[in-house]
Amino acid sequence: MAVTKVVEIPYTLEIPVGPQHPALHEPLLLKVYADGEEVVKVEVYTGYNHRGIEKLAEKNSFYRNIFIVGRVCGICNNVHANCYVRALEQILGIEPNNRAKYLRVLAMELERIHSHMLINAVMAEMIGFESLFMNIMLDRERIMKAKEILTGNRVVGDYMMVGGVRRDINDEKRDKLIKILDKTEERIKYYKNVFMEDDTILKRLVDVGILTKTDVVKYAIIGPPARASGVKIDARASDKYDAYGEIPFNVITRKEGDVWARMILRWDEALESINMCKYILEKLPSDGNPVPDEKRLPRRFPPCEAFTRVEAPRGELTYYVMSDGKPMPYRVKIRTPSVNNILNTAHVYLGHTIADIPVILASWDPCISCMERVTVLDLITGERKRIHLKELARRREKWVNPRYSI
């Protein structure tokens, strides 16, 4: 029988990027299929860093959880703690005073500055610009010092408490912070200028990984990637939680939607945050002690539920806390921005070269430790499926050994 048909199968190269250090020092596997140099398909695999913090939160008391949720993410720990603490305040009906609210915003904005500086430094490293990476990290250290002055630790602040904050600042500390912010502002302006004008950076970042406004709305992208594509979405401006209603600030957007726009947007946001921090330090209200007496806080939580959201450096972060009147929360649900931003952007890599993959991945500013979810794996049949929480709750007797929890 003569040959009538020839089926040509294109050669594709399968490259696993990760899970050890895929561009960032966090575990995430991007399975990249490339035709020559061109990327034709990207699959995102997660699950290397699941620590079961939501379950842990159900087994610990409401107050212990403040410190546990602070460890979900190292960089945005104050934001996580603030969101959870505000949920507890809603359940208890406590309102902190104005000074505490201002200090909370100060801690969160310092965090935003150092987070944005970090990802810009990592981006410089991604494109092979080591000296710029070193210089940005050197100046970021000033902000870490500012965090140490304010909260007592350079990374994990443990600053939020129901009814206020855990430390007050005096005039001496305020002057120190203003001095640090003045110096950092000058440096951030310089680095923004470098990112705007340097040939190497422009060649690697401009027109790479374009995310259109339609895609942002379609895939529910949040945070700086959404704002860099022209979508004005910011929980600080729409919710006006804590003292954000009283502190003037602009929601910065850009229209380009490429990697470069995301990085420049982060520099602009860092500058905006510095202005906010200065405003807070100059106009810090003194309407009482912002530090609540932790021994006298209410121990009993009424059966109630609360849903809060904050604008983390990576986008909108939400917490749902449910109390059933017992000493431990019935449910703590965390929804982090990185889940949306990493899982829904696999299409952006297509058509770019392999060298652009780390650049595009770093431009989402992913936080892997925030975003891990549960997959049920049937060990007998090898079946693997993602399930909804409702189904997990309904069929838990079947899946969960009654002696041990998941």
Binding site: N135, L138, E148, G152, N153, V156
Partner: protein, 132 residues
């Protein structure tokens, strides 16, 4: 292609002194109220176990005071908190919930050690030994 924008900065850095702190030779400058190693002052401790219950990392264990030390009268159960510094996350929740403010806080950040893994010797050094 023009010259790199940060060439001036790189050249300046070549002739300025290094930014890295030469740690063992030079001390890292740290804030006096930074959260460092802490231990209980047993003259104030009443053995209420509140710090142990509230510790988010389960790092504090209530332990009986050894017989060679004079237990204070205000501590009827004769127990004291021992902090495991390897488990501790330095959130200072124990310090803020202590009803008698018995904790001594320091800004000691050099925690890599094989000797003071537990806080028992630091705490017991605040108590007098039994005479005879």
């Amino acid at each position: 292609m023009g010259k790199p924008k940060i060439l001036d900065l790189i050249l300046r850095n070549l002739f300025s002194k290094p930014a890295t702190i030469e740690y063992p030779k030079k001390e890292t400058v740290i804030e006096p109220d930074a959260r460092g190693r802490h231990y209980a002052d047993l003259n104030k401790c009443i053995g209420c176990s509140l710090c142990s219950i509230e510790c988010p990392a389960d790092a504090i264990k209530m332990t009986p005071i050894p017989s060679e030390y004079e237990p204070p009268k205000r501590n009827p159960r004769k127990i004291f908190p021992v902090i495991n510094y390897l488990r501790c996350v330095y959130c200072y929740r124990c310090i803020s919930v202590c009803p008698t403010n018995a904790y001594v806080s320091t800004n000691e950040y050099r925690l890599a050690t094989t000797k003071t893994v537990f806080s028992d010797m630091l705490s017991l050094s605040t108590l007098p030994k039994k005479s005879g």
